[in-house]
Amino acid sequence: MALRNLSRNKRRNFATGAAIAAGFAALIALGGFVNRMENYLRVYTIYATRVGHINIYKEHGFERFSTKPKLYSLDEHELRTIQDIVASMDNVEMHGAQIVGMGIIGNGCRTVPFIANGIDPSIDLLLRNHSQMRKWMPKLRDFDKGRGLWNYDESQGAIALSNGLARLLGKSRVFDELPKDQKSVVVVDCSAPDAKEKISADTNVQLVAGGWSGMMSALDGEVVANFASAVTETNNSAILTSLKLLQKLYDTQNATFYSLWLKNPKELSVDMAKLKDNLAAAGLKTELYPWMDESVAPFYTGTMQFIYVMVGFISFVLAAVVILSIFNSATMTIIERSQEIGMMRSLGFTRRQIRQLFVAEMVFLSGISVVCGGIVAALGVFVVNSLGVPYKAPGIAGHMTLQLTPNFLIVSTSAALTLSLAILTTLIAVWSVAKTNIATLLLGSQR
């Protein structure tokens, strides 16, 4: 009967169903967008910026490292101990020490500040080929120009420059593009008309930084690759090089922190606790940061909070539109059928049975609408993903491509939310009518 009642006022039910379907499709699209952004930023944080799932710092190292790097970095003994402990953990996929440091980089005529990240090139290779990188940010896993650090001998001083920094230094070529017999280019007069051409003709740069022991330190490097740093914040200053090169530059054997990448990230909290206990048992004074900690991943946490607030607000507006549409439709239907409700009550139907009848009608309508909305959403996602619409996201270097990646959880949650809203709204609409005096209901429009 509930199903047949849907055929009574086809136009109204169609409008209500369309509102439900549109709301459901919009929820899927929003969910798909959030899912895409969350995965993009998560993978960017963990793999592309090499933060790892867990970071081990020396006690107070995270806050004080930049002012007293020697005192608040992990020394050789600590690094070895950590390496031994981490290597024994089953859930660890990769691990390694990293250095983060600052300095200035020059091309013989011009110097600009840099922020360098030093890591074992073999780990960088594994990270770039990781399945998560392939899935969520395939464009960022490749260098824009040149080859990875792992292709070069340690003695060559291979470094990769972010695209913006390469542009600032006028280094438009990378090492592999130079002729084999290329000789060092010396620019004597930086104001000469051919100075820029000479600078771009070779890949040599000079790195200068304060060593951790207090002395100034400098070394030569060869630009072997250019990369997109993903975020505008670092696109004009980021350098990626080997751990050993930066240790040499900063005149140390220490490292800033030690990173772990897990096989199963869902075990993060368990592994964190285990690691903390083992480090303490080994007598190391360290502090651990999970990847989503605001301190180590401010861009991820800040951006996701912003997205959640925005999407939450839009979802609220969507839900309000759907609720009002259902409520309006249900109220009109109930008013029109008040005499019928009175008749059914007089035949012995209880209030509960009357409510169940109207809820059943709405469940049928919502169910059909959700199926239709799901089809519309699937088509919409396919079209959007096929078009590859580029857009500029705040804080992200270059253009992103609009991609929607809804998954089963998003679809099922949206469906459950839509159905729950429909049922709740109908119950509210029918509640008072079901409680109305039967004699009054039987009067119908004469009331």
């Binding site: 009967m1 047949r4 009642n5 055929s7 009574r8 005499q339 019928e340 009175g342 008749m343 059914m344 009550r345 007089s346 035949l347 012995g348 139907f349 209880t350 209030r351 049975q353 005096n437 039967i438 004699a439 039987l442």
Partner: protein, 232 residues
């Protein structure tokens, strides 16, 4: 003991029934201390002018409205104090309703409309339900219209469906509020004949309100109500 065996005995008893309605600032007295007894098997008409309290009286007996004071005993049970669900159960099991405007559900066919009150009576098996529905529809002469929807029937036929629906549950009492008011004289006569026949054959007690002079001439008892009071 079935209703046939108890024919003639009092089974609905009203004492001092009062019902007032508030219309804005005005209080309208619909019933002012009504006393009435109904006996099994009676074919009783409640007559009176518009607004005299006929429908209110039927609503009170049918448990679809509550009196402000007074007592209603149905088959010895005081029904004014029953819960809403208990009243629903009583209506479903013991009372049949026929309305002036038929009140059929337009998306259901004749068979389904008649079956409707039986669907919530879980003591009836599906087979018995089908038999009762078929018997009730046959009693009102609409066996060949079982699959028709209300909009495919005439006014008289619709009212017959409503009568079949009221009788399908084998009620002790059928309450009919102006059952012939929306029908022409020919159809009114047929409906009266049908109700009389069912009253005689099924021994079902009928109580109905009416203005119809044809109907008043053929009933076994007339209850005259004026300004909320029964006049002898």
């Amino acid at each position: 003991m079935n209703s046939n065996e108890k024919t003639g005995e009092t089974f609905v008893e009203l004492k001092g029934l009062v019902k007032n309605y508030r219309l804005g600032q005005t209080v309208v007295s619909a019933l002012r201390g009504v006393d009435l007894e109904l006996h099994r098997g009676e074919f009783t008409a409640v007559i009176g002018a518009s607004g005299s309290g006929k429908s209110t009286l039927l609503n009170m007996i049918g448990c679809i409205d509550n009196p402000d004071s007074g007592s209603i005993k149905f088959d010895g049970v005081e029904i004014t104090q029953l819960s809403d669900d208990a009243k629903s159960h009583l209506r479903n099991q013991k009372i049949g309703f026929i309305f002036q405007s038929f009140n059929l559900i337009p998306v259901l066919n004749v068979e389904e409309n008649v079956e409707l009150p039986l669907l919530i009576n879980h003591s009836i098996s599906p087979i018995e339900r089908s038999e009762r529905v078929a018997a009730a529809i046959a009693d009102v002469g609409l066996s060949s219209f079982m699959k028709n929807r209300p909009d495919q029937l005439s006014g008289g036929q619709r009212q017959r469906v409503a009568i079949a629906r009221a009788l399908a549950g084998n009620p002790d009492l059928v309450l009919a509020d102006e059952p012939t008011a929306n029908l022409d004289s020919t159809n009114s006569g047929k409906i009266i004949d049908l109700m009389l026949e069912l009253n005689t054959r099924r021994k079902v007690t009928f109580l109905f309100s009416t203005h119809d002079a044809n109907l008043m001439n053929r009933v076994s008892r007339i209850v005259n109500i004026q300004d909320g009071v029964i006049r002898v």
